[in-house]
Amino acid sequence: AGPVESKNEAAMSELVPEPRQKPAVPMKPMGINASLLGYIGIDTIIEQMRKKTMKTGFDFNIMVVGQSGLGKSTLVNTLFKSQVSRKSSGWNREEKIPKTVEIKAIGHVIEEGGVKMKLTVIDTPGFGDQINNENCWEPIEKYINEQYEKFLKEEVNIARKKRIPDTRVHCCLYFISPTGHSLRPLDLEFMKHLSKVVNIIPVIAKADTMTLEEKTEFKQRVRKELEVNGIEFYPQKEFDEDLEDKTENDKIRQESMPFAVVGSDKEYQVNGKRVLGRKTPWGIIEVENLSHCEFALLRDFVIRTHLQDLKEVTHNIHYETYRAKRLNDNGGLPPMTVETEENHESNL
């Protein structure tokens, strides 16, 4: 069997390596379709890679932001079908609304199909609940940047950990109140600031208070407002990798988002099946029924198709942006540990 050679001839780069020479990046690679000539086995790398990732496990950090009472904790519990949010982890159910925005992160390990995931839910009680909510996004922005900072510090160490613990926020669900009118100034301000540092997925909370027509109109208005205000929510247009991505994501951006959701951790019997739902005098709202609400779309989007992408955009784009800015501000130097500063101060 003769080899299949492309018209381009790969130039043979003869290297005489000297110290500090530019590495050998060889010239035009030859295109060979190896499958014509007998099975080699390179496609087994997929399986090899899958095995390794299953062994290491995954981290996922999701933040929920919105005024209290919008059902954030319930929604997260519904998404991950377990008691992973703040309200369920031994915190006082009768908590007072805090006077400032607090950041509360809770981690759990969940396992499914041999895949282990360390899920951290970051709650932001107090957001938007004060009389004066000026700059209430600042503690949140600060928290997000602190996680980038933590990662950066680990990364610049000389002796680095084999696996740097990832506490960076991969996804921020922003809960929009189902007023039916438009976005509130606070919503716009928050999303304007934070969409630059984290992946924001806006959701319309408690969507069972709107009829189908109201829902469609509201969503259209919200989308328009976001566009007019230049707010790039996830999936951001500029990060679409190829045409396939773009088509898929365009559909989500222009039709489905923001997802109008309903959350529940209670099960009811409907048509012989046990379903998650909310019971009202006028009927049972089935959370996972697409004709009732878009929860299933949100779940599939965040968990089943775009989870890895959320992490990659956080790592390759948001984190890199933070890092570049940090190094630039420091004159090209990596950051200093806060502890070191304190140590030095105390030693003076």
Binding site: S13, L15, P23, I40, K52, S82, M336
Partner: protein
């Protein structure tokens, strides 16, 4: 900030969530991106490196056989795009050229080490950039080094030991016995044992196929015992039975490449490609590269903690170095400025001296000139006086003469004549 979760507890799920698709999501992204694999073949000329690569990857890669007259060791690198099902692999094969051909082989290992380091360096440079594109970086770091051992049947050559010792902390070494159809079965067993014991006694760390994952622990464990693999390469296909097989034909029989009773080629392919390719890549990145990076940064003067075990940071070291450097620069600048001022002063003094001399000279000359002038004037005056005196005498003489003429003509004439005589 309150974090509850160190020592996170496992929470049960009440239904299917769907994150079990995560490995698939990750793998799909990698597939879209494509994979890189870089193999380095180290071995003497004529040990069949190119043929083995052709055989492993079922293709005829470019290249002519090298000659034995290379003045030094060089590395030849080629990249190929291979595709199998939906996997796109960018395969780079680097081979030594002229290894083992020189009379003095003391430095033979150096170009190889430098090449491997150069790839690490390139990656490190990219990693240290402010604006970097690591996820799109074409990784040229060597993932596996196949070390070709000549089939002498006795033991390792000292060149082999020295080279492998220099490489074992930088790359995953997989030793193989090349052209192993030159050795008989019994000799082979002895040879393998000898090689393994020599490697152990010299502390050479070769790559161990990982046995921590239960799904591959068994096969990897068995294969570890078969190292070094005795291989044969051939791209020629011969009809054996009713199948076409890769083989080498001799008058006394046919050696089948893919027959495990004839050689370990299948084992090598299995281990290198079908089972451990990903692990080789991972070890390169998490072990060999990290070691290089650590050494390089320490060399440049960075450290994580100082002797008093107060945590330093890269920034402090940078700052200290920068200040030191700026200080030195300033000092140098000062010194240069001082020198400049000094020189200017000296030059000025010189010039002043010169000026003074010139003035003096001028004065002297002027005086000389005046003296001369005076002398000349005096002389002129004395000459003028003489001329005047002569004129007077002349007038007086002429007067006398005319008087004498009037008195007595001829007498005076005679007297004149006599006087004139």
């Amino acid at each position: 900030i309150v974090f509850q979760g160190e020592g996170c507890r496992t929470v049960p799920l009440s239904g299917h969530v769907g994150f079990d698709s995560l490995p698939d999501q990750l793998v799909n992204k990698s597939v879209n991106h494509g994979f890189c694999f870089n193999i380095l073949c180290v071995g003497e000329t004529g040990l069949g490196k190119s043929t083995l690569m052709d055989t492993l990857f079922n293709t005829k890669f470019e290249g002519d056989p090298a000659s034995h007259s290379q003045p030094g060791v060089q590395l030849k690198s080629n990249t190929y795009d291979l595709q199998e099902s939906n996997v796109n692999l960018k395969l780079t094969i680097v081979s030594t050229v002229g290894f083992g051909d020189q009379i003095n082989k003391e430095d033979s290992y150096k170009p190889i080490v430098e090449f491997i380091d150069a790839q690490f360096e390139a990656y490190l440079q990219e990693e240290l950039k402010i604006r970097r594109v690591l996820h799109n970086y074409h990784d040229t770091r060597i993932h596996a080094c196949l070390y070709f051992i000549a089939p002498t049947g006795h033991s390792l050559k000292s060149l082999d030991l020295v080279t492998m010792k220099k490489l074992d902390s930088k790359v995953n070494i997989i030793p193989i016995i090349a052209k192993s159809d030159a050795i008989s079965k019994s000799e082979l067993t002895k040879f393998k044992i000898k090689i393994t014991s020599e490697l152990v006694s010299n502390g050479v760390q070769i790559y161990q196929f990982p046995t921590d994952d239960e799904s591959v622990a068994e096969i990897n464990g068995t294969m570890n015992a078969h190292l070094p693999f005795a291989v044969i390469g051939s791209t020629e296909e011969l009809k054996i039975g009713n199948k076409m097989m890769k083989a080498r034909q001799y008058p006394w029989g046919t050696v089948q490449v893919e027959n495990e009773a004839h050689c370990d080629f299948v084992k090598l392919r299995e281990m290198l490609i079908r089972v451990n390719m990903e692990d080789l890549r991972e070890q390169t990145h998490t072990r060999h590269y990290e070691l290089y990076r650590r050494c390089k940064l320490e060399e440049m003067g960075f450290k994580d903690t100082d002797p008093d075990s107060k945590p330093f940071s890269l920034q402090e070291t940078y700052e200290a170095k920068r200040n030191e450097f700026l200080g030195e620069l300033q000092k140098k600048e000062e010194a240069m400025r001082q020198m400049f001022v000094q020189r200017v002063k000296e030059k000025e003094a010189e010039l002043k001296e010169a000026e003074k001399e010139l003035h003096e000279k001028f004065d002297r000359l002027k005086k000389l000139h005046q003296d001369e002038k005076k002398k000349l004037e005096d002389k002129k005056k004395s000459l003028d006086d003489e001329v005047n005196a002569f004129k007077q005498r002349k007038t007086a003489a002429e007067l006398l003469q005319s008087q004498a003429q009037q008195a007595g003509g001829s007498q005076t004439l005679k007297r004149d004549k006599e006087r004139k005589k």
